[in-house]
Symmetry: C2
């Protein structure tokens, strides 16, 4: 029988050392995108490995062409589920440095928040699970299931090593449920479990017209303007009421369940406050869905950038020889980016205006992720979060995409639990990144309960 009294006493007693340890990790400038930071990447990997080893786990560095993966595991527990904790020890670049109120790699606590690059994304959140396993071990409690850790060093720059190694380590990381704390609560004081992520299919479309820029006076009216042709293609791709016009695009889309819609209705999301926060006078999108539904559970199309022609000051009178657009579709979990590429190709073939040639560049794609919000693991996780945070979590989805999660789910065939301890305004990729100090401790506490409830669920 698990003795949470002793674990809670341990947690209470070790708050300072748990913070000191996080600060140690935060002081390492492990910016994966910066090739001059290779020594720091190694230092951070070694630090995480040593920390896990100090909790009695069997650890291993898996090296590849880039920062190593840190792998660790507790003892197997036959007949019980296996949990895989995924996290990352790398961080985003810290620039612009002049906007930081305190140096990004000199963590401080101020107004109840830990300020440092990586505090929320993901060192602080990831550390909650390491501290939790250590707490069990220090209190001489035997973990009721096996916990594996896979902590990578390239989440902020493409997860190349992990992606490459995935087939090789599939057996090693075999698990029943993947736990990831690298996202946000629904709001301050309202923890959440995210059970769905959207996928993405990202492209550049180029429209080529005349072989060289033409004088728009002498030639205007004679040839298809590549800027207007691109505009028409983009316009025809999505109706004013937000429906995407690629042939077959909605065939594999699973509609929202009534229970989900009802659940999110309870969140009392305010369109007005949201519009004001974003600085727009109206929210728009697919007819028939609320804003949260559109953001979390409906596919969409966005333009990210426009390219081509004269972009300097004043006017230059050319018909540009080409134009382009960066676009992406956000996909719901049942859609596959490869299928979207084919749909887009056939759309472009049907909609290409005469007098121009279209090029489609497939930049990257990833499937969405969907967990069953009614699964036993989910129920167990909800109890753990409630016990850790003192508030019943809400079940949400997230509009963003973490392609590596979809790949890990595919490789392991495991369920996934996205237990975000952060907040939307943490500034994960911005100056003055923060993580609420109490949420660090609440996350550790929730994690100590998680192993117990997942073992019961399995």
């Amino acid at each position: 029988m698990t003795d949470f009294t002793s674990i809670d006493r341990y947690l209470q007693k070790n708050r300072q050392s748990q913070l000191d340890e996080l600060f140690e990790l935060l002081r390492i400038a492990s910016i994966s995108a910066d090739s001059s930071k290779r020594p720091e990447m190694t230092e951070a990997a070694n630090w995480v490995q040593a920390k896990l080893a100090s909790g009695g786990l069997k650890t291993q560095l898996i090296s590849g062409d880039g920062p190593s993966l840190v792998y660790a595991e507790t003892e197997p527990v036959p007949g019980k589920p296996v949990v895989l904790v995924y996290g990352h020890y790398d961080v985003q670049p810290a620039d612009p440095l002049n906007l930081w109120h305190s140096p990004p790699f000199e963590p401080v606590v101020k107004d109840g928040n830990i300020y440092a690059r990586g505090s929320t994304d993901d060192k602080g959140q990831m550390m909650t699970h390491i501290q939790s396993v250590i707490a069990w071990q220090r209190c001489n409690q035997k973990l009721p299931l096996q916990v594996k850790f896979l902590i990578e060093g390239q989440e902020e720059s493409g997860s190349e090593v992990l992606e490459t190694k995935l087939p090789e380590i599939a057996d090693q990381i075999a698990s029943d449920v993947i736990v990831i704390s690298d996202s946000s609560q629904y709001a301050q004081g309202q923890p959440a479990i995210t059970y769905g992520l959207r996928g993405i299919a990202y492209y550049e479309i180029r429209v080529y017209g005349p072989k060289a820029d033409l004088h728009s006076g002498s030639f205007g009216g004679a040839v298809t303007n590549p800027g207007l042709a691109l505009a028409r293609i983009l316009t025809e791709m999505k109706t004013p009421d937000g429906r995407i016009q690629l042939p077959g695009f909605y065939d594999s889309v699973v509609d929202l369940e009534a229970s989900e819609r009802e659940m999110w209705q309870q969140l009392n999301f305010s369109d007005e406050a949201f519009a004001e926060q974003l600085g727009v006078d109206a929210l728009t999108g697919e007819t028939g869905y609320t804003t949260l539904e559109r953001r979390w559970a409906r596919p969409t199309l966005d333009v990210h950038g426009l390219l081509g022609g004269y972009q300097g000051e004043g006017g230059k009178t050319i018909i540009p020889s080409w134009t382009g657009a960066k676009i992406s579709f956000r996909l719901v979990p049942n859609q596959h980016p490869k299928a979207v590429t084919e749909q887009l190709r056939s759309f472009l073939a049907q909609h290409a205006p005469p007098g121009v040639r279209i090029e489609l560049i497939d930049l990257h794609g990833g499937r969405g992720v969907m967990a069953d919000p009614k699964s036993p693991f989910m129920k167990g996780a909800m109890r753990a979060v409630e016990e850790g945070f003192g508030v019943k979590p809400v079940l949400i989805r997230e509009g963003g995409s973490i392609p590596i999660v979809a790949q890990m789910v595919e490789a392991t065939n495991a369920d996934v639990l996205l237990l975000g301890w952060g907040l939307d305004d943490d500034g994960a990729h911005s100056p003055n990144e923060k993580f609420c100090l109490e949420d660090y401790y609440r996350g550790i506490r929730a994690s100590t309960r998680l192993w117990h409830h997942l073992a019961q669920a399995g």
Copy 2:
């Protein structure tokens, strides 16, 4: 009675000196856009003034905030029309220098062409009229009408001095017909008179969405994407069959006359050859008009450049906070750019999607120019060109715009004759600019006849 025998003998005898004189002017690197070339600008203005003075003209430098205007006039001839020759002594920059086969300011004759920056645009063409007036004077022939010259030094960089001085010098340059040789023949061996230029109304449109770039995962589907909004606005502005949708846009458009359409039909313009030259697989544009009609005599809309969002390599997942486009309308002579601005404003007000704010930046505009192709001056000019070139000229229009011409026409209320001696492939703004040597002499000869026939016409 004019003695063209003596004039023709003079021209024949002075071919070399006329070329040497042009070479002198071509050696002066009078690049108006290059502020380090101020001494060359002064040198060129002085050179042109001295050359005109050598022909017995009364000359004057009109100074302003920039390169001076050179003004000159012959004796008034009461009861006869006054001709104003407009030209420019400044040239385009010469870069990229490494693409020139011979230095841009060291003129050479090769394969029957004069190669130098400014050879066709406009020193060579402009000099034909100066040489012609000098020829009359040297042959002791009294000019049958008064010829005025206004040669500016900023045609390639905005005509600011001329534009500013125009009201002040309106009386001085008062005239019945303006002659400009700064354009092209219809084709090699086929001289032309251009009786119409299109106008222009040039804008930048900006579409503003959220107050900062948003993560397209978390927010995609909730807000109007400024890239898609811009695309829709541009698409709705012109139908697939080339009709511009601004309210009232066609109200002041004067349709082509049957006689013009018939005349241009005779030019045997080849759509296929033209498409191949431009590198497109189809020509497109307003339904119901031929390619020449669309280029010369119909208004159109073109996109010159697209702005906003992520334009670097690979993909960045943002909803850009703004996008933009540089666009212009080419106008036919009866349209006014100011009216188009109002039409565009009301179009944008009607077509702005919800959730974005539109900004319209009026960059510049100019009216078109139209001469009567059946006027007595036109008939006189046609005879002069035929006598100079040995071939009857065709009557064409040009799709481009020369805003200063429209302003001069407005200021003087004069007719205009666009007598282009150049060729389409002269490379006026490109490396290896050329001007056909024989067309220089033919232009001088045509000009000597021009005074005679215009005097008869008036």
